[in-house]
């Protein structure tokens, strides 16, 4: 386990969903820390509570009990607008279905994440183009989602997630809708974001193809963390191992 200060920490999270006879305990006392520079995978079967935990870590849902601390601030008792403020300041999201705006082109899809943050005009447009080039879409800036492949759409979503330089990137099944080649490309991109930009990346997945890119794998079942393993160097793909070494050297 690393000794770095966690940028996001969840302690004893319990989440009950539904009411009355239909009430379900989706999370039963989950604790988790995310540190900068790491790509963590949250793996588990369907219905294990992965997405619920991701929603709570992303300040979209509030826990029934327990505490989430984001960048040193407790989220306990915060209202929807305060949680939204935390999200736009600290968190970038990547969704399984990309969730791009079909009426906006690639640059505009990225710019909108900056716009909600109050970054407007030429600097925002320049930043949007910069991150799209970073994810390899410099040649598709003006394309609308309907004219992009699934892999390209997910890369636009990645660019949108990192445009405002959040300390945390949360990804929900980022490879589920992609073929093998694009799935690997997106995971490599997320690993690069974690290493090169020293961000904390958490990806919820049940895709075994993603394992090679992870620094840490957390397994969840029936609302509880049932295992956590740190991937030893050499298990990862050579590219990721190399990136990890570089980051550690830079941090030393």
């Amino acid at each position: 386990m690393t000794n770095e200060t966690p940028v996001l920490e969840a302690r004893d999270i319990v989440k009950e969903l539904g009411k009355g006879a239909g009430k379900v305990m989706a999370l039963k006392g989950v604790s988790l820390k995310l540190v900068p520079g790491e790509l963590t995978l949250l793996m588990g079967p369907s219905g294990s509570g992965k997405t619920t935990l991701l929603s709570i870590l992303g300040c979209i849902l509030s826990p029934t009990s327990g505490e989430v601390r984001l960048a040193g601030h407790s989220t306990t008792g915060l209202g929807p607008e305060q949680l939204a403020e935390l999200r736009r300041q600290h968190i970038g999201f990547i969704f399984q279905s990309y969730n791009l705006f079909p009426t906006l082109n690639a640059v505009e899809n990225v710019r909108i994440a900056l716009d909600v943050l109050g970054q407007k005009g030429y600097p925002a447009a320049a930043r949007a183009e910069e991150v799209l080039r970073e994810v390899g879409l410099g040649h598709r800036l003006q394309n609308f989602p309907s004219n992009l492949s699934g892999g390209e759409q997910q890369r636009v979503a990645v660019a949108r997630a990192i445009a405002a330089s959040p300390s945390i990137v949360l990804a929900d099944e980022p490879t589920a809708a992609l073929d093998s080649e694009n799935g690997h490309a997106v995971m490599a991109l997320l690993a690069r974001i974690a290493k090169e930009q020293n961000r904390s990346v958490l990806a919820v997945t049940h895709d075994p193809r993603t394992l090679g890119y992870a620094d840490r794998v957390v397994r969840i079942e029936d609302g509880k963390i049932v295992g956590e393993e740190r991937r030893p160097e050499g298990v990862n793909s050579p590219e990721i191992t190399d990136l990890t070494k570089k980051r550690r050297k830079a941090n030393a």
Binding site: P80, E85, R87, R88, F93, N99, E108
Partner: protein
């Protein structure tokens, strides 16, 4: 980006946009026509009063309007008014309905207006043929060109009969229309009295006295003095008489209420159509709004997108609606009741359209207020 997103959302579904615009357009045209008719009617009703050069009007007690003043004021009362301190002139005027017998047979009702132009109280304006001197000739009258057909005549030189007297058209005006649809017939004061069979005992009576004040005279003081001296009369300012005439023709007859009711109906229908289409548009884009919320946008950011959509709809719908309204206005210019559009009305209509669209956005805003950003993970 708010405007960009609103614009793209709006133009994304062209059919729905068309429905929205038709709703606004229909509403604007209906309201513009109704209010245009209301303004046009008001202008017709008050035109004669507004055109007089007077500070006060003396009418018989309870006179309802310019056309329904009765012929009861006497020359004795006029002299009493003239003797009131602060009064410079008291100009007698006659106004009454009379029967117009057409030269080709048949008859219609006209409003005879008798006044001597040299008194400086009122003279027919917008003369397009003939002069006031021509009207001073024996039997001479002036009528509006737009009523020639209704009066059964062709133009200058034609003769007809009012009550018992023969008249000849010596001058034509343009655009002097009557709300009652009884054409105005202008003629000198005494000629009017003769036509209306007011010779003999009643030969010096009048419908109104137009009072002009001495420079520096206090209007309220003079008015009070006149009211005290002249029993059985009303002494009104021009504005008061105008309002009384408007109340009589527009509200007591129900015509104005029907026009305003039509305008309100237009606003209601427009609001419902725009609200319905904005709501369905918001519902269609609800996942995008949920994504925005998940990305950390504030509630007000999303509200601004919806309001911008409403605002864009308003601007486009208003522009199209005004084009059609102005076309109807142009086509109505020679009708018995021409529509009137003023810059003030055009601006008010624009403000009304924006307000209507903003109100329409409420249901859509209520919808997005309930968005659960967690839905972004369930797709």
């Amino acid at each position: 980006m708010i405007l960009t997103l609103a614009f793209r959302n709006l133009f994304h579904d062209r059919i729905r946009l068309a429905v929205t615009l038709v709703g606004i357009l229909f509403s604007i045209v209906l309201v513009a026509v109704q209010l245009g008719l209301y303004l046009g009617s008001s202008r017709m009703i008050t035109n004669m009063i507004e055109k007089t050069n007077s500070d006060l009007w003396i009418t018989t007690f309870g006179a309802k309007s310019f056309e329904e003043g009765g012929i009861l004021l006497t020359s004795g009362q006029r002299h009493q008014a003239l003797a009131t301190p602060g009064v410079k002139a008291v100009i007698p005027m006659v106004s009454a309905f009379a029967e117009w017998r057409k030269p080709g047979g048949g008859s219609t009702r006209v409003a005879v207006v008798g006044i001597d132009a040299e008194d400086g109280g009122l003279e027919p304006w917008n003369l397009i043929e003939g002069t006031w001197d021509d009207i001073r000739a024996p039997d001479a009258i002036a009528v509006d060109r737009s009523y020639l057909g209704d009066l059964g005549i062709q133009g200058i030189g034609d003769t007809a009969q009012i009550a018992l007297g023969r008249v000849r058209v010596r001058a034509l005006t343009e655009g002097i229309r009557s709300f009652t649809q009884s054409p105005y017939v202008f003629t000198p004061l005494q000629r009017a009295r003769n036509l209306l069979n007011m010779d003999g005992e009643k030969g010096d009576k009048s419908t109104f006295f137009l009072v002009q004040l001495e420079p520096g005279a206090n209007l309220e003081t003079v008015r009070t003095a006149l009211q005290e001296r002249l029993e059985g009369t009303d002494v009104l300012t021009k504005a008061e008489f105008r309002d009384r005439s408007l109340a009589q023709w527009l509200f007591k007859t129900g015509a104005g209420i029907a026009l305003i009711g039509g305008a309100l109906l237009g606003i209601l229908v427009g609001t419902v159509i725009v609200a319905q289409t904005l709501y369905s548009s918001t519902k269609d884009h609800i996942n995008e709004f949920a994504t925005l919320r998940a990305l950390g946008s504030s509630g007000s950011y999303i509200h601004k997108v919806i309001l911008a959509q409403a605002g864009l709809s308003a601007v486009i719908g208003y522009s199209l609606g005004m084009i059609i309204a102005l076309l109807i206005l142009y086509l109505s210019r020679n009708s018995p009741l021409p529509l009137v559009m003023t810059p003030g009305l055009a601006f008010s209509l624009f403000a009304l359209t924006l307000f209507m669209c903003a109100i329409s956005a409420v249901s859509a805003i209520m919808k997005v207020t309930k968005i659960d950003p967690a839905t972004v993970f369930s797709r």
